[in-house]
């Protein structure tokens, strides 16, 4: 920045120097010009005056008429006054000459006259000049001897101003060019000189800089060393100083380096020590933290496992844990209580050890058990009959699960059992009660039925028409009671869940035909049209025949019952593939759908939601048959759904109804139960 300022300053200085110089030069030349001009003017005036004096000396007689041109012409010619000059009288009229005026001097008469009257009059000067339009008009009055004072004649000599200054111009140009040349020369010399000077200075500055940067190796240029005068002295002194400095610097630096290295090493050692210290401190802290964490975690785990332990110990269900070889590792107090064995007696023995609570099931049951938990690694759930230590038999609901570890290997078995003896007893007694009740109810019903039959058959003698009528009422009533007992029995079995499903290959058309046969008399009486349509001839499926009979019998007897004279009842079967639908129902597996259609009284739409409920009978059904027990469809629905089937219907009151029942085509699943449903 300083450089720029310095430069600007020097530039300013230069400018300030130049301007007065230029002004000076201008004034010089201007005064030169003026001087020259004066000189020239004087010379012209002098020559003019000389010429006029000659003429005046020669002038002898006054012309009679000053306007007489011929006189003047003769006079001028004679006296050779003419060349370039003209004669003018006191009014400014040209008496003689001036032919070349306009052409040579762009002469303007008006202006001339103005100037003329200004400069020349009777009283004014008789010799002078005036300048107009770069023309000098030199004049000299010629006094005419005589008595006419107002009349005079003026000789004019016009001269171009530039002509007068010719000499000046040439001088000026010479001077200027000479001066310029001189300036250039000076400039060159100066430049060279200063460059030389600045070169010295620059290299000097460079040297100093290099020393500043610590570079002592830059050689001092010879031209500096040998530079004349102060510069050379300076350069030489500088060199020696630099060398000394270099030496000093080097020795200092090596000292410093050495000391620094030593210091660094000790510093490094100290740092290493410090680092090692902090590392071990951190490690210690971390280890401490880990230990604390471990302690907390194991405390928590202990608490958790204690919780679990407490929970398991307090459970009312028998819980036994065995290892992968089914060796008993743990048994909770409930297990001890239920089985009658203490844990100490169980520990170390296998779960299936016969010296423990003896299983009273068949071998195939236990085979299935182990196959499920060991081979298939699935939980086994079943009801088992066991024997306690004291020989007492009991029932338990058993769930044995394998516990899998990494890689899916069995690590434990967990057996949870619940003593359901009491429940089973209750159930059994319920069932027995039901059986007994139904048996007890049926016996008198059979008696009534058979004796009515005998009487109506004439075994007790002739029966009158009226007697027959009454007796037939009794037959019907008795029949209803028999049906009711059967239905009640089924309901109770359904609710107890004790009915059995025993799937066999059942030819469905056979079952249906059996049912139709049972309903034959009513069908014939009502003149109903009966139809059967199967998706495959004689098709069979895995099912419990009894259940099929119960279901179809219920649906078909309803259809027949609620269809008036000349109506129709039809039974059909259809096969529906998996993921397809039929009549708005979607099926996930291959399914067989049975349908029973009638043209009967149908089911009112506002009562359709209650059709499957227990003891429900629609109003119109009641009017067709006041004596139905309302249990049939409840039984059918429960039965169908318990074997994984589906039941639904479509009906329009007054038009008829279609009931649909569907089962997976793979068949009914078998179901253990103590009883069959009543057919």
């Amino acid at each position: 920045m300083l450089n720029t300022f310095r430069r600007r300053l020097s530039l300013l200085v230069i400018l300030m120097a130049i301007v007065p110089v230029c002004v000076l030069i201008f004034f010089v030349f201007t005064s030169m010009r003026n001087t020259f001009l004066d000189q020239q003017r004087n010379s012209v005036l002098l020559s003019l005056s000389r010429d006029v004096n000659f003429f005046e000396q020669d002038f002898k007689q006054t012309p009679s008429d000053f306007s007489d041109q011929s006189f003047w012409s003769e006079y001028f010619v004679k006296n050779d006054l003419v060349s370039g000059r003209f004669l003018v009288n006191e009014n400014g009229s040209v008496l003689f000459g001036g032919d070349h005026l306009v052409q040579d001097f762009s002469f303007d008469k008006n202006f001339f006259l103005t100037d003329f009257s200004r400069h020349i009059s009777v009283d004014s000067s008789y010799i002078g000049f005036f300048e107009r339009d770069n023309v000098h008009y030199f004049f000299h009055r010629i006094f005419v001897p005589g008595d006419i004072p107002e009349s005079f004649v003026v000789v004019f000599e016009p001269v171009l101003t530039s002509d007068l200054l010719t000499g000046y111009y040439s001088l000026r140009n010479t001077l200027l060019s000479g001066g310029a040349l001189l300036l250039v020369l000076l400039f060159i010399i100066g430049f060279l000189f200063f460059r030389r000077l600045s070169e010295h200075a620059v290299s000097f500055v460079e040297l100093i800089r290099s020393v500043e940067n610590g570079d002592y190796s830059q050689p001092v240029p010879a031209f500096l060393l040998s530079a004349p005068g102060d510069f050379g002295v300076l350069a030489r002194a500088f060199q020696s100083m630099r060398d000394k400095l270099h030496l000093a610097h080097d020795s200092l630096r090596s000292d410093v380096d050495r000391k620094t290295r030593a210091l660094q090493m000790s510093l490094e050692h100290a740092r290493q020590d410090n680092h090692a210290l902090s590392v071990s401190r951190t490690a210690l802290a971390t280890a401490l933290e880990d230990v604390r964490e471990e302690r907390d975690r194991s405390k928590m785990l202990l608490q958790e496992s204690q919780k679990f332990r407490m929970a398991v110990d307090a459970a009312s269900d028998h819980i036994v844990i065995a290892d992968a070889d089914s060796v008993i590792l743990y048994a909770n107090p409930a297990a001890e209580r239920i089985t009658g064995f203490l844990f100490e007696e169980m520990r170390g023995k296998k779960m299936e050890d016969s010296s423990l609570w003896d299983g009273l099931m068949e071998d195939s049951f236990y085979e299935d058990l182990w196959k499920t938990v060991r081979d298939r690694k699935e939980a086994f759930v079943a009801e088992v009959r066991n024997r306690r230590k004291n020989g007492e038999e009991y029932y338990s609901a058993v769930s044995i699960s394998p516990v899998l570890g990494d890689g899916g290997k069995i690590v434990f078995f967990v057996s949870v059992e619940r003593d359901i003896t009491e429940q089973k007893m209750i159930d059994q007694s319920k069932t027995e009660f039901m059986s007994l009740a139904s048996h007890q109810l049926r016996t008198p019903l059979s008696t009534v039925r058979w004796y009515l039959e005998l009487i109506l058959g004439g075994d007790a003698g002739r029966v009158t028409k009226q007697q027959k009528m009454y007796l037939e009422e009794l037959v019907v009533a008795n029949h209803r009671m028999i049906e009711l007992v059967g239905a009640l029995l089924n309901v109770s079995r359904l609710e107890l869940g004790t009915f059995r499903v025993d799937p066999q290959s059942v030819v469905v058309p056979d079952v249906v035909r059996d049912v139709f046969r049972e309903l034959r008399s009513e069908i014939v009486m009502k003149k109903l049209v009966v139809e059967e349509q199967y998706h495959a001839k004689n098709f069979a499926m895995l099912a419990d025949r009894n259940l099929f009979h119960v279901v179809f019998q219920n649906l078909l007897s309803n259809a027949v019952k609620y269809t008036p004279v000349d109506g129709s009842v039809s039974f059909a079967s259809e096969f529906v593939s998996s993921h397809k639908s039929l009549r708005g129902q979607k099926f996930d597996v291959d399914t067989v759908v049975f349908s029973v259609t009638d043209t009967g009284c149908g089911i009112p739409s506002d009562q359709q939601d209650r059709v499957f409920s227990k003891l429900f009978r629609a109003d119109n059904a009641r009017s067709v048959d006041p004596d139905g027990n309302g249990l049939g469809l409840y039984v059918v629905k429960s039965v169908v759904e318990s074997v994984g089937g589906r039941i639904w219907f479509e009906s329009i009151e007054g038009k008829g109804a279609t009931f649909y029942v569907s089962f997976a085509s793979s068949g009914m699943k078998s179901r253990d139960g103590s009883r069959d449903l009543v057919v």
Partner: protein, 127 residues
């Protein structure tokens, strides 16, 4: 009572009225009917009289129907005689056991009319 169609039926039933009703109906169809009211006497009668068919109730005092049946089947003659179990117990859990003993049929009394019962017997004996 003599049989007109040449067949003898043994009815083992503890409920007397039922026993009588069946007996009356069978007689009027031409069968010779023997009646016993418990399994013990029924067995003795069967082995002695060797009827062509036995109608056997299950729930009976002294010896019930299943016991009589098993004893019957141990006999040389008894193992082949056709037996129809008549009961008001409606579950054929008994039927499963009875199949082992070769029972011809299992009928719930209240579900069968005497007529149909007769027809069934005739069907089997071919009369």
């Amino acid at each position: 009572m003599k049989s007109s169609n040449g067949h003898t039926i043994l009815v083992v039933e503890d409920e007397d009225s039922l026993s009588q009703a069946v007996s009356m109906r069978l007689s009027s169809s031409g069968f010779r009917v023997l009646r016993q009211s418990n399994g013990h006497e029924g067995l003795a009668c069967a082995l002695k009289e060797r009827p062509d068919l036995i109608l056997l109730d299950i729930v009976m005092p002294v010896m019930d129907g299943m016991e009589m049946l098993s004893a019957l089947r141990k006999d040389e003659w008894g193992k082949d005689v056709p037996v129809i179990l008549l009961s008001n117990l409606s579950d054929p859990s008994y039927a499963a056991g009875a199949i082992e003993f070769g029972v011809f049929d299992f009928l719930v009394k209240s579900d069968w009319s005497l007529d149909d019962l007769c027809r069934k017997i005739c069907q089997h004996l071919g009369c």
